[in-house]
Subunit: 332 residues, 2 copies
């Protein structure tokens, strides 16, 4: 960790060194860290950046900002069937950072390290002179040759998603337009659910083994089910037919759907779900579903891969929907 | 690579996908990349962040910004004796980015990939809504157990630095205070040399083998020789005695020294050198020097480790200098 002004060295040592429990991290006191790959395993590497007021709000709890930054990376690893091992943290601090903020940020990382069995192995902290930016590189491992890509799907494979979709987008809309959920008649508990889903993604790390064992192609949903389905379809060289009625909705989102059907569609395409989207060969669906149930992760069949070249078709009760509804909406 | 607005996907594909020549990078079209560690090697991981107008100027040539961001990371790897293999690139684009800027930035990376035999394996691009920020995670490899840390030095070991010191700090001062070098009577060529040394660090990748074979402790100099010597001394649990007259100066810096001795000291402590600072056991100095000469990298003996607890003493013709001169000055 380099280039801190006086005082920042001490803060790093105080708050981040305790997170670097692996001996290879050298207590974050060296130029670099040493990582020993396990023989017979390959590494899966991912890097996601987050910026204040783009991917989170500056006044979000620091613990949640930290956890979100880590979790969006763990979500990528899970989608590849990789078990998370380590991460490097890049922190571009805004000018108004405080020791208390940093302490709470480190606390958020610490909680997630315990929850997801992952450890800090290095990083860098700078003063960015502008808004907070976080850059995390996460490292996972899979037995050699078993990483699940986006490209392994084939016609006939069944399309699954984990959890529920659209919640985070609805939570984000409430943040940007406070009162909108109230106007739709949602209860306090519904609102809390949606806001929490935006604030704190739940990476499906528990589904890692099921994905690795049974999925032919997999990714996480960050740009919205419709946009990401196109990515999966294109990479696998198939078309995907998605039955709208089969998309899993939380009770809160179902209420939004009841009040305003179009708005529910916008939420579904809104992104930030960090659920898994994967294809499973039809002879493995039973085993996949059983394995997911063992891992206590809900998975729903939402469609099928058919011969094609990367198109996504939405069906309602088997009838095609218009192409204008296929676009994911990153932000409102 | 996620969260790009429409159009950015295409730019990434156009400019960055060609840099991802390793099949494990999956052409940057997946959530993550796959990295196959070589059996018998451990990985060295480092991450440096750079922000516009903190670590470079926004109007620097994009090729140079890209190269600097990569090179400061390669410098960390070289200091550990690690051969660079791969890197992940995080790019927080400012609002005024253009396709032409991005093309030139990618071109800078491409040139350095060829020069240093390293390849892009993943990353993320976001719009940061503020100044450009770059976060690179670099991966190097060393045979198991041979990474050189800061902590291996012992009393009696000889202190070396590579190249020349203080040039980049003088170049930075010229950028901030144009005409200052002219006022000191430096020629155009001298000025170009110093400005170039700030703009484009020269990571001592060629010295990697010599460091791994002969150095007991090593780091790169980014915060200035005096500050970084303290880091090395502390990590190795020794005191370091540095002979000021032995510090290697370029002809340009020697002219600054002739005009203003104190200013030369400030430049020496200014940082951004990206030279190697290492300790070599006295029975290995001859072999280390021969190995560095084979690699065509100049190295200079600048001091000695003695029993102690992390102090740095500057000597002038064997006489101690005052403690007030020991502080590195990150910026003017």
């Amino acid at each position: 960790m380099e280039h801190e002004r006086p005082g920042e060295f001490d803060l790093i040592r105080t708050y981040f060194a305790p997170l670097a429990s692996d001996p290879g991290s050298l207590g974050l006191t060296d130029d670099a860290s040493v990582y020993h790959p396990r023989p017979g395993y390959e590494l899966v590497l991912t890097k996601d950046m987050l910026a204040a007021n783009v991917h989170f709000f500056s006044d979000d709890p620091p613990e949640a900002i930290a956890a979100k930054a880590l979790r969006v990376n763990l979500s990528d690893l899970a989608a590849k069937g990789a078990v998370p091992r380590a991460y490097l943290l890049g922190l571009g601090l805004s000018d108004d950072w405080t020791a208390q903020w940093l302490e709470r940020f480190a606390c958020g990382l610490s909680g997630d390290q315990a929850a997801f069995d992952v450890t800090l192995v290095g990083g860098d902290t700078i003063r960015s002179g502008s808004g907070l930016q976080i850059s995390i590189t996460a490292i996972g491992e899979v037995p050699d040759g078993t990483a699940v890509r986006r490209s392994g799907g084939a016609a006939g494979h069944v399309l699954y998603v984990s959890g529920t979709l659209g919640d985070a987008a609805a939570g984000l809309k409430e943040r940007l337009d406070p009162g909108f959920l109230n106007n739709l008649g949602l209860t306090d508990d519904d609102q809390k659910h949606l806001l929490h889903r935006y604030l704190l993604p739940q990476p499906r790390v528990a589904l890692t083994g099921s994905i690795r064992s049974f999925a032919s192609a997999s990714m996480d949903i960050s740009d919205g089910i419709f946009a990401d389905a196109r990515h999966l379809a294109k990479a696998s060289g198939v078309d995907l037919e998605i039955e709208i009625g089969a998309l899993p909705l939380s009770p809160a989102l179902r209420k939004i759907q009841g009040a305003d059907k179009d708005l529910a569609m916008v939420c579904l395409g809104g992104g930030d779900d960090y659920e898994i989207l994967c294809l499973v060969p039809s002879d493995a669906t039973e085993a996949f579903e059983a394995s997911a149930a063992d891992a206590s992760i809900a998975v729903s069949r939402v469609g099928t891969a058919v011969a094609g070249e990367g198109a996504v078709r939405l069906l309602q009760d088997g009838q095609p929907l218009g192409v204008g509804q296929l676009h994911g909406f990153r932000h409102f």
